[in-house]
């Protein structure tokens, strides 16, 4: 079975390619919500609707950087028995059908306890391009960086409105793309983003060519258009997870429409 998957595996596109000559739309969803079969279907549907990169959340019991919407998705996914191994199998199936870059979002403990070497080897084998770990700051990157690099997985750098004097230190070593957190607090839909993103982006651009995508609080096409004026990409999580929560297994056509509309707003 695994040989068949191996034989038909599609080579993943590079993360950097999605930012060339266009603004990228990055979609997040939690693996296993409501089931891994549905997650596979949602990823392919969002890919077909124009998403440029998919962030796949590996659910964690205690997602401290998440707001209530994604936290609830984590709980739902764990309740139906979603495991890291089953997520890797799902990713392998997705990789036989698309070249879209795939990035994991999870917390340090699921990676550490799985075994750092074993985890990143599985990422490489199954076609994962990068990883975002909210509770792994610059100071602790040594925990995974050399292993991730050896397996060609980008460790995505997060920059926050409170990063201030840290911005250049963080940006200098960033690979893949930079995840710029739009607002203080946890993930979730916001009516207004007050951070001076332009100033942060300009600090970042002073030290690196690595593309900058903005996330946290973006839900509407109007917000996406606005953000795309100053960054290379837009990340949407809670708004998508909310649609999945509301429509469950029937969410596919709704996600297709939503992603199409958001992607169109970036042009």
């Amino acid at each position: 079975m695994s040989n068949i998957i191996e034989a038909t595996k599609i080579k993943a596109n590079k993360i950097s390619e999605i930012f060339s000559n266009q603004k990228a739309f990055i979609a997040f969803l939690t693996a296993g919500d409501p089931s891994l079969d549905k997650t596979e279907e949602f990823i392919l549907a969002m890919d077909a609707a124009g998403a440029d990169l998919i962030e796949i959340g590996i659910p964690f019991s205690d997602p401290i950087a998440e707001g209530p919407v994604i936290e609830a998705a984590n709980e739902r996914a764990l309740r139906v028995g979603t495991t890291t191994d089953a997520i890797f199998d799902m990713v392998a199936r997705v990789r036989t059908q698309t070249a879209i870059p795939l990035v994991f979002l999870t917390y340090m403990n699921p990676v550490f306890v799985y075994g750092v070497e074993r985890f990143f080897a599985a990422c490489q084998k199954n076609g994962i391009n990068g990883i975002i770990i909210p509770d792994l700051p610059f100071e602790e990157k040594g925990e995974i960086l050399s292993v991730a690099k050896a397996h060609e997985v980008d460790v995505i750098t997060l920059i926050a409105p409170t990063s201030q004097d840290r911005i250049q230190m963080l940006a200098k070593e960033a690979t893949g793309f930079i995840y710029l957190v739009s607002s203080l607090g946890v993930t979730g839909v916001r009516s207004e983003i007050k951070t001076d993103l332009a100033a942060i982006v300009s600090d970042i651009r002073a030290v690196t060519q690595t593309p900058v995508a903005v996330g946290f609080g973006i839900a509407t096409p109007e917000q996406a258009t606005q953000i795309a004026k100053l960054a290379d990409g837009v990340i949407v999580g809670s708004a998508i997870v909310r649609l999945i929560a509301a429509h469950g297994s029937a969410a596919t056509p709704i996600l297709t429409d939503y992603v199409r509309e958001m992607k169109a707003a970036l042009v």
Partner: protein, 394 residues
């Protein structure tokens, strides 16, 4: 560079949004811990307001009854607000004041840390918000009202297992939302550096006093120091100044709930494994995929799936021993100390008493045990009555 390491444990595994806030605390603490005026101000607060030094009481009847080692009780239950928590809170609140913060937030399990934080906030004029799991607001209703009385807002946490770990999650989330004017008064020797070190330093007053007191009373050091361990703040405080005294056994009592062979316990050292959570590398109760396990103890203050990194290191190096104590043993000790010495201990502290009851009879009459009575048990009376099948409502 990773900071705040205890052997392989510790570190600073915190979201980027909080890194500058944590570095700010770290820098302020590095400065003020060596500042004589700050230390004098803190000592004044501890002595005049909190009632330190706490007594080292010779438990004569308990000693005679158990028939072995002489038992001394370090009476942290006699501190203002009724537990050791005030030692750390006064230190952090004073530091927050120096840092120009105007708002304190904190998690609480049993409510002792929340009450202590609300108290310091009232005293020093901070805004105060406390996060407490719904399970705990139900079983510690008295402390919830006490915090409100002190002017704090209590947020009931309904996510996850609705206990201490979820209260910690929620307080971290709140801190990321409002960093500028807010200090997170972490209640135990856990979380990212500098919290394990700073909280330990503020709690080490317990063993600093106890060491001098036992030398004065007995002219010698104890053979063993016993304390209960959740995150581990009262235990590290009781151990710290005895760590260089290699002949003094240091014994931490973990909550074994309904037994370490059941699913319902919070015995991190007995049943946990290495992980990275709540800002630190340490031991945690978790599954093979690193999902944090739901834990259980009759004691809300010990109902936590991890342990502070310095304890994890003391365990690795075998400098300290950690033993599991069940609900039944703790309740028996709660009743025993009440009847024998007229001291009602917190159900958390009763875990330490329980092990003293096991250990003392095996030791000689010329040997000495110090038990840290980390808190008083008024808050637990109704819950213990219910445990015994009596329907008492507060």
């Amino acid at each position: 560079m990773s900071k705040g390491k205890y052997g392989i444990h510790g570190g600073q595994y915190t979201p980027e949004t909080l890194m500058n806030a944590i570095i700010e605390v770290e820098k302020a603490y590095e400065h003020y811990k060596n500042d004589l005026a700050f230390q004098a101000e803190l000592t004044e607060l501890l002595n005049e307001y909190a009632g330190r030094p706490s007594r080292l009481y010779y438990a004569k009847k308990m000693t005679a009854d158990l028939g072995g080692a002489k038992i001394y009780l370090k009476r942290e239950d006699l501190n203002h607000t009724g537990s050791h928590k005030i030692n750390n809170v006064l230190g952090q609140a004073l530091l927050a004041k120096k840092m120009g913060k105007t708002r304190l937030i904190a998690e609480t399990g049993a409510g002792q840390h929340g009450v202590a934080t609300a108290t310091a906030a009232a005293l020093m004029g901070f805004e105060c918000e406390i996060f407490m799991g719904k399970e705990d607001t139900d079983r510690q209703a008295l402390n919830v009202f006490r915090m409100r009385l002190l002017g704090a807002t209590v947020h009931v946490v309904t996510s996850g297992t609705m206990t201490l770990k979820d209260a910690v999650n929620e307080t971290f989330r709140e801190w990321t939302t409002r960093v500028d004017d807010t200090h997170y008064v972490l209640g135990s020797v856990m979380g990212p550096h500098p919290f394990p070190e700073m909280v330990r330093d503020f709690q080490s007053v317990i063993s600093k006093e106890a060491r001098a007191q036992i030398l004065e009373k007995e002219g010698r050091l104890p053979n063993a120091v016993i304390a209960c361990v959740g995150g581990g703040s009262n235990a590290i405080g009781a151990f710290y100044n005895f760590i260089p005294d290699a002949d003094v056994r240091l014994i931490g009592c973990e909550a074994a709930g309904r037994g370490v062979d059941t699913e319902e316990h919070a015995a991190t050292i007995a049943r946990g494994s290495l992980g990275i959570f709540h800002g630190m590398k340490s031991y945690f109760c978790q599954d093979e995929y690193g999902q944090i396990a739901p834990v259980y103890s009759i004691s809300a203050g010990l109902d936590y799936p991890g342990i502070g990194p310095e304890h994890a290191h003391l365990h690795d190096t075998k400098r300290a021993e950690y033993v599991p104590i069940t609900d039944d043993e703790a309740v028996a000790a709660f009743e025993y100390l009440s009847r024998t010495e007229g001291i009602i201990p917190a159900i958390e502290s009763a875990h330490a008493i329980a092990y003293a009851m096991v250990l003392a009879p095996t030791m000689g009459k010329d040997e000495i045990i110090i038990v840290n009575v980390s808190g008083r048990g008024d808050k637990d009376v109704a819950a213990i009555a219910r445990y015994k099948g009596e329907n008492i409502y507060e």
